[in-house]
C-alpha cells in the first residue's frame, strides 16, 4: 500500500441547497489499495459527498484532485470514463438486456459504424472473469439473482479501469454467502491497487474488509482513523455524537423471557408458491419469533402466505389464528383477523410516496375513522399526532410527503399505520433494512415493548446479529423447509450459522 501519494484528494468541499449547508468544508484523501469506510447517520452528508465526487452534483467550493489532476465531473458517466466509478445500493442496470449489453452500454465496440457484438461479448466475458464469475454474458441480466447482478454492476465499473470505486451499501440486497463473494472481490481489487470508498450501515462487515474509517455527522467530517483502533461502539458513538458510555450495550436490547403459553398463530405444513415445501411453527402471545435463513429460503414467502398477499392455487397446508382457519383470501381478511404485515420492500410495497405522513398512516384504519363514507379529519389528525409523538417520528408536520422522510422515519410511520389497527400478530420482513444505527435501535426497542404488551411478532431478517438480539425464539429455514427452533438461551449468531450448516 502506498500511503504517501493519494489517488484522490478532496479539500474543503462545501455544498448548500437553498442556502442550507449540506456539506461543510469536507477533507478526504484516499490511497491506492485502500478500502475506506464512510459512515454516518442518514442525513450526515454521505450521499451528497458521493454525488459531488462522481459529478451528479456540482460543488460550491473546494477542490477534487484525482490522479494528480484537478477534476469536476459533469455526470457519473463522465467520472466512470475517467476511472472513478460508483456502484449504487440498488442495481442500476437494465434487467431485460444481456449481461454484455449492460457492461458495454455507452461504449460499445464498433466496426464499420455498427456494433461488433462478438468483440463486445468477449470484452464483457473478460470483465466478469476478473471477478471470478463464470457466467454466460449473452443471457439477460434478470436471469441472474440479485447478488450476481450486483457483481455484474461491479464488473462494469471495474472494467472502466477504475482507480477509485465508490460503493454505496453494496450488501443491502445480499445474503451471507453472497456477501462473502463480494468481500473477496473487494480484497482482490485492493491488491490490484484500486482505492475503494465503502459506504455501509452494517458496521460489522467493515471490520472484515476496511483499512480505515471516516465518520461524517451533520455535514462535517468528524474523524478518520484506522479501523483497528476502533470498536463498533466507538463508531456508533462518533456517528451519533455521543459518548461511548451512553450507547446502550447489546445485552440491554434482548427481550424479557416470554412466559405466556397461549398460542395465537398456528402454521401447519404450508407449501406452495414454488418456494415453500413444508413450514410448520407456532407463535405465542407476546412472543417474538425470528425467521432466519438465506435468501431464497422462503422467509418472505411464509410472511406473504400468512397475510394472503399473493393469490396462488398451489398453496397447501393450514394456517389458523386464535383457532380460526384462514385461507388465501387477500390481505383484507388477514387484517380483519388481526394480522399486520410490513413488507421488506418499503419503497414499492409500503409507502404511498405522493401522500403525506397523515394519509399514509391512517390508510389501514380509514374505516373506523369514517362515517357514511366521509373521513372524520379531526379524529384522523388527533390519531396521527399521537403516534408521531409516541414513536418520536421526525417530521416538519404531518402534511409532509412521506417520501421526504429518512428511511427510519418512513418505517416508523408504517409501523404506526399497523399499530393503529391494534393487531394481534405483526409480521415484520426486514424491518431495519437501509435504516441507520440510531433509528434501528429505536425501532428494535419499539418492537420489544410492543411484544411486552402482548403483541406476537414474526421477525424476518437476514441479519443474524439483529435476530439473535431481539427474538425469544428463532426458527431456521432452509430451501422452503422449517428446521429446528433455537430457544431463548441457545440463540446466538453462531448458533444460527451452525444450524444453517447442519442440513
Amino acid at each position: 500500500m502506498n500511503w504517501d501519494s493519494p489517488i484522490l484528494q478532496v479539500t474543503g468541499i462545501s455544498k448548500s441547497f437553498n442556502n442550507i449547508p449540506a456539506l461543510n468544508s469536507i477533507d478526504l484523501s484516499l490511497n491506492p489499495g485502500e478500502v475506506r469506510a464512510l459512515i454516518g447517520q442518514n442525513g450526515a452528508g454521505k450521499s451528497t459527498l458521493i454525488k459531488i465526487l462522481n459529478g451528479a452534483y456540482t460543488l460550491d467550493s473546494g477542490s477534487i484532485l484525482f490522479d494528480n489532476k484537478q477534476v469536476q465531473y459533469s455526470s457519473p458517466y463522465q467520472a466512470q470514463l475517467d476511472g472513478m466509478s460508483t456502484i449504487f445500493q440498488e442495481v442500476n442496470l437494465l434487467g431485460y438486456r444481456t449481461v454484455a449489453e449492460n457492461i458495454m452500454a455507452g461504449r460499445e465496440i464498433k466496426r464499420y459504424g455498427l456494433i461488433d457484438w462478438a468483440a463486445c461479448n468477449k470484452f464483457a466475458d473478460e470483465a466478469v472473469k476478473i471477478l471470478g464469475l463464470d457466467i454466460d454474458v449473452t443471457r439477460t441480466l434478470d436471469s441472474f439473482n440479485v447478488a450476481i447482478q450486483q457483481l455484474i454492476a461491479i464488473a462494469r465499473s471495474v472494467s472502466f479501469n477504475a482507480k477509485v470505486l465508490i460503493m454505496d451499501e453494496p450488501t443491502a440486497s445480499l445474503d451471507e454467502a453472497e456477501k462473502k463473494t463480494l468481500f473477496k472481490v473487494v480484497k482482490d481489487l485492493k491488491t490490484q491497487g484500486v482505492a475503494i470508498l465503502y459506504v455501509s450501515h452494517h458496521l460489522e462487515e467493515l471490520f472484515e474488509i476496511c483499512d480505515s474509517v471516516s465518520v461524517m455527522r451533520d455535514g462535517r467530517m468528524i474523524e478518520t482513523s484506522l479501523i483497528k483502533d476502533l470498536t463498533k461502539k466507538d463508531m456508533v458513538a462518533k456517528m451519533l455524537g455521543k459518548r461511548v458510555e451512553d450507547i446502550l450495550s447489546d445485552e440491554n436490547a434482548r427481550p424479557k423471557v416470554c412466559a405466556n403459553d397461549e398460542v395465537i398463530l398456528h402454521v401447519e405444513k404450508i407449501s406452495g408458491s414454488g418456494v415453500l415445501k413444508e413450514v410448520t411453527f407456532e407463535l405465542k402471545k407476546g412472543e417474538i419469533l425470528g425467521l432466519a435463513g438465506l435468501l431464497g429460503s422462503g422467509r418472505s414467502e411464509v410472511a406473504k402466505r400468512i397475510f394472503g398477499a399473493e393469490q396462488d392455487d398451489s398453496y397447501q397446508g393450514k394456517i389458523s389464528i386464535n383457532d380460526i382457519t384462514i385461507g388465501v383470501n387477500g390481505p383484507k381478511i388477514a387484517i380483519e383477523k388481526g394480522i399486520a404485515f410490513c413488507s421488506e420492500d418499503r419503497k414499492n410495497e409500503g409507502i404511498i410516496p405522493e401522500m403525506s405522513v397523515r394519509e399514509n398512516m391512517s390508510l389501514v384504519i380509514l374505516d373506523s375513522l369514517s362515517k357514511n363514507g366521509l373521513i372524520d379529519k379531526e379524529k384522523e389528525m388527533a390519531l396521527v399526532d399521537s403516534y408521531i409523538k409516541k414513536l418520536g417520528i421526525k417530521v416538519s408536520d404531518m402534511e409532509q410527503p412521506i417520501s421526504q422522510l429518512s428511511g427510519g422515519n418512513q418505517q416508523k410511520v408504517l409501523l404506526a399505520r399497523w399499530m393503529a389497527n391494534n393487531p394481534e400478530v405483526l409480521i415484520l420482513d426486514e424491518p431495519t433494512r437501509g435504516i441507520d444505527v440510531g433509528a434501528k435501535s429505536e425501532i428494535t426497542d419499539l418492537i420489544l415493548s410492543l411484544a411486552e404488551q402482548g403483541l406476537s411478532v414474526l421477525f424476518i431478517s437476514s441479519e443474524y446479529e439483529e435476530i439473535s438480539a431481539s427474538c425469544h425464539k428463532v426458527l431456521v429455514m432452509q430451501e422452503g423447509i422449517s428446521r429446528d427452533y433455537l430457544h431463548y438461551d441457545e440463540i446466538s449468531e453462531n448458533a444460527i450459522l451452525d444450524e444453517l450448516g447442519k442440513h
Partner: protein
C-alpha cells in the same frame, strides 16, 4: 439528503422567502389558472365583443363536454398504473346516438314524458356500463389501460354507427334540446351541471374514504393492496364514472346540435380530455386528482382556441397553439417533480 430536502420544504412552507419566490410558487402550482387569467385579459383587450353574453354562452356550451370528460379522465389517470381511457369519444358517440332513438321510437312518441327521462337515463347507463367494462378489464385482468380501452374506442363508435345505420338523426324536441340550449339563472344548463359535478367530485376526492382510496391505489397499488384496500373496486368506480362523464358529454353534444351523428360526435375527444386533465395538473403517473384543475385546463384550451379564431387565426394554427399549452403544462410538471 433527506434532511436537506426536509429543510428546503420547511423553508418554502414557512413563507420566509421573498414575495417573488412566492409568486413563482403560485405560478408553478396554479399554472392553468394563471394561463386562464392571462387569456381573459388578452381577450378583454383584443377581441371585439368579448364581454357580450353571446360570447360567454358559446364558450360555456362548447367547453362543457370537454370539461366533463376531463373530470372523468382525471379520476382514471389518478387511479394509476398507466390509467387512461381512450374510449371516451366513442362512448360519447354511442350515448349521443341512443338518446334520440329513445324519444323518436314509437314508444317514445306515445309516452313523451317517460321517453325524455329514459332518453337521459338509458344512454347514461349504457355509457357507465362501458366504463365499468373498461374498469373490469383493467382492475381484474390487469390489462394495460391503453389497450383495454382501445376495445371500446374501436367498437363503441361501430355500435353507434350500426344503431343509426351511419345516418345523422335530426330531431325537434324542446325538452331534450333544453340540455343543449337551456339556461338556468342565465347560465347555460351544461355549465350548471358541469359546475355541480366538478364541485361534488372534488369534494368526494378531498373528504371521502373513496377519494383517499383512489389516490392511494393510484400512488402505489401494491402498497394499497397490502393495506387491505379494495383496489379492484376503486378502479371499477373510476373507469365507470369516466364512462358516465362521457355519456353526459354525449347528451350535451346531441342536444346542442339537435342531431346525433355517430360518425363525428366526440371525435378526438379522448385527446382533448387528456390534454385538459394534464394542463390542469393531473400527473400521468397517477395518485393526484385535481378535478377543478381539469375543468380549468379545459377552459384554458377552449379560450386559447376561441381567442385565435376570434382574431382571425386559422384552425390549424389553433391546433399548434393547443400543443404549446400542453408543452407548457408538462414543463411545469417536470419543474415540480425536480423539487423532490
Amino acid at each position: 439528503m433527506d434532511m436537506i430536502n426536509q429543510q428546503i420544504d420547511k423553508n418554502e412552507s414557512s413563507g420566509s422567502i421573498a414575495s417573488s419566490a412566492k409568486f413563482k410558487a403560485l405560478l408553478k402550482n396554479n399554472g392553468a389558472l394563471v394561463a386562464l387569467i392571462v387569456l381573459l385579459i388578452i381577450n378583454a383587450i383584443f377581441t371585439p365583443h368579448f364581454f357580450a353574453m353571446q360570447t360567454f354562452y358559446i364558450n360555456m356550451t362548447q367547453v362543457a363536454p370537454i370539461a366533463i370528460v376531463a373530470i372523468g379522465m382525471c379520476l382514471v389517470i389518478a387511479s394509476g398504473n398507466g390509467g387512461i381511457d381512450i374510449s371516451v369519444g366513442s362512448v360519447l358517440a354511442l350515448a349521443g346516438a341512443l338518446a334520440p332513438m329513445v324519444f323518436m321510437s314509437e314508444f317514445g312518441l306515445n309516452n313523451p314524458g317517460i321517453a325524455i327521462a329514459l332518453a337521459i337515463v338509458l344512454p347514461l347507463l349504457v355509457a357507465t356500463s362501458c366504463g365499468l367494462f373498461n374498469g373490469f378489464l383493467v382492475g381484474h385482468y390487469r390489462i394495460q389501460p391503453m389497450i383495454a380501452t382501445l376495445i371500446l374506442f374501436i367498437s363503441g363508435r361501430g355500435i353507434a354507427q350500426l344503431l343509426t345505420n351511419g345516418d345523422i338523426q335530426t330531431f325537434n324536441n324542446d325538452f331534450f334540446q333544453y340540455l343543449g340550449t337551456g339556461r338556468l339563472f342565465g347560465i347555460p344548463i351544461q355549465a350548471v351541471i358541469l359546475i355541480i359535478i366538478a364541485l361534488f367530485v372534488s369534494w368526494i376526492i378531498k373528504t371521502s374514504k373513496f377519494g383517499r382510496y383512489l389516490l392511494a391505489v393510484g400512488g402505489n397499488d401494491k402498497a394499497a393492496f397490502l393495506c387491505g384496500l379494495p383496489t379492484f373496486k376503486v378502479k371499477l368506480i373510476a373507469y365507470g364514472f369516466c364512462g358516465f362523464c362521457a355519456g353526459m358529454a354525449g347528451l350535451f353534444t346531441t342536444a346542442m346540435n339537435s342531431a346525433s351523428d355517430a360518425n363525428t360526435a366526440g371525435l378526438l375527444m379522448e385527446l382533448d380530455g387528456i390534454s385538459a386533465a394534464v394542463v390542469g395538473g393531473t400527473v400521468m403517473m397517477g395518485g393526484k386528482a385535481p378535478v377543478i384543475g381539469a375543468v380549468i385546463g379545459a377552459l384554458v384550451i377552449q379560450m386559447m382556441t376561441y381567442t385565435l379564431l376570434a382574431n382571425g387565426i386559422s384552425d390549424s394554427a389553433a391546433m399548434i397553439a393547443k400543443a404549446a399549452i400542453i408543452i407548457g403544462a408538462i414543463y411545469l410538471q417536470l419543474k415540480n417533480k425536480q423539487k423532490h
